[in-house]
Amino acid sequence: MAFIDYYKVLGLEKAASQDDIKKAYRKLARKYHPDLNPNDKEANHKFQEINEAHEALSDPEKRKKYDEYGENWRQADQFEEARKNQGTGNNGGNPFAGGGGGFSEADFGGGDFSDFFESLFGNAGGRSSGRRSPKYKGQDFQAELQITLQEAYTTHKRTITVNGKNLRITIPAGIANGQVIKLKGQGSPGANGGPAGDLFLTFNITEDPVFKRLNDDLYVNKDIDLYTAVLGGETTVDTLSGKVKLKIAAGTQNGTKVRLKGKGFPVYKKEGEFGNFFVTFNIKIPTNLSPAQQALFEQLANS
């Protein structure tokens, strides 16, 4: 856990006024606010830093404590203890009291503060002012779920843990990479009779080494030998629903693409509907020929 220079985070000098702090915070928050930077984790992280710096410096009591002990935060408690014992504590009350009383956990934005902040001010250090605490509808949650292409192929149930709560969800077959599903009422509880927030679950589908997906279609490359390509024959191709036998026409060219209708990916929420499966043939040219094979190719070439 490292010391965080909150003045530096807000681009301010130590002598900055409350008005300077407010202005600097607003300017930076307008740049990095998560609502203005959707799906940007870096901006989100930066906003948390700005928010935390503002939280620490905009509250005179916290700022005083930070200025006094910030860099020596490890010794802060010992200093205070010694001061109390010597009866030289300041008259303004214990600066370590935190002063966060009266705010519920929901006010803190779900662990948005660094260990440094919590070590100095306690985890109930005060309300989060960067994001207004919900006063009616509960806070919406965002979560990401990583699944494989194979998993996305079939409708299945899964238990996920969001903010310490287990949720059993059904993932419909055909879900797309980046698709967001809203789970109504699974965010934080509402206040003053308001509804609970929602959970927005984003699906990240990992890339498969064999099957490539574009919308509801699947694409694979299949190696075939030169002789089959020239003379025609059969090959077997793996699909996500099992093996399929494929006829190869005589004279098949390298890069030829064939379509298997309805053997692709299931169409989201349309039971029984599937996309197409495309196979691209990659003709392998024989290498390391034996003298006999070499002679035969030469014979072909001269015929």
């Binding site: 607003r26 928050a29 307008r30 606010h33 609502d35 203005l36 959707p38 799906n39 002012s129 960067g130 994001r131 207004r132 919900p134 006063k135 009616y136 509808k137 919406d140 990479n177 980046g178 003053n192 308001g194 509804p195 927030g197 929602d198 890339e207 490539k212 997906r213 574009l214 919308n215 694409y219």
Partner: protein
């Protein structure tokens, strides 16, 4: 009415001026439901509304700015979807 809250009640809860909400409606940014004489906010508007309250009261952005942001965010979402689609297409050729 379980899923509706009056503008008055909502303004008191959030300690904001009802005029701010009315201006959002006048600008076509949110819509309210009229029941008799009273205007209500429906549940599906609540998340957006809360976001606009952040923008206005915490970040000092005016109604016109909120409207512009809203349009830009819609474009960002469309472009995100397009980038994802292009990445998938590109992946086919890798």
């Amino acid at each position: 009415m379980a899923n509706l809250i009056t503008i008055k009640e909502y303004s008191i809860t959030y300690n904001i001026e009802p005029e701010f909400l009315m201006s959002l409606e006048e600008s076509g940014i949110v819509y309210f439901t009229l029941e008799g004489e009273e205007k209500y906010i429906s549940e599906d508007q609540l998340s957006d509304l809360e976001r606009y309250i952040h923008f206005h009261y915490d970040l000092n952005i005016n109604i016109e700015g909120i409207d512009a942001i809203r349009h830009l965010l819609q474009r960002v979402h469309l472009m995100d979807a397009e980038i994802r689609q292009l990445r998938s297409r590109l992946h086919l050729h890798e």
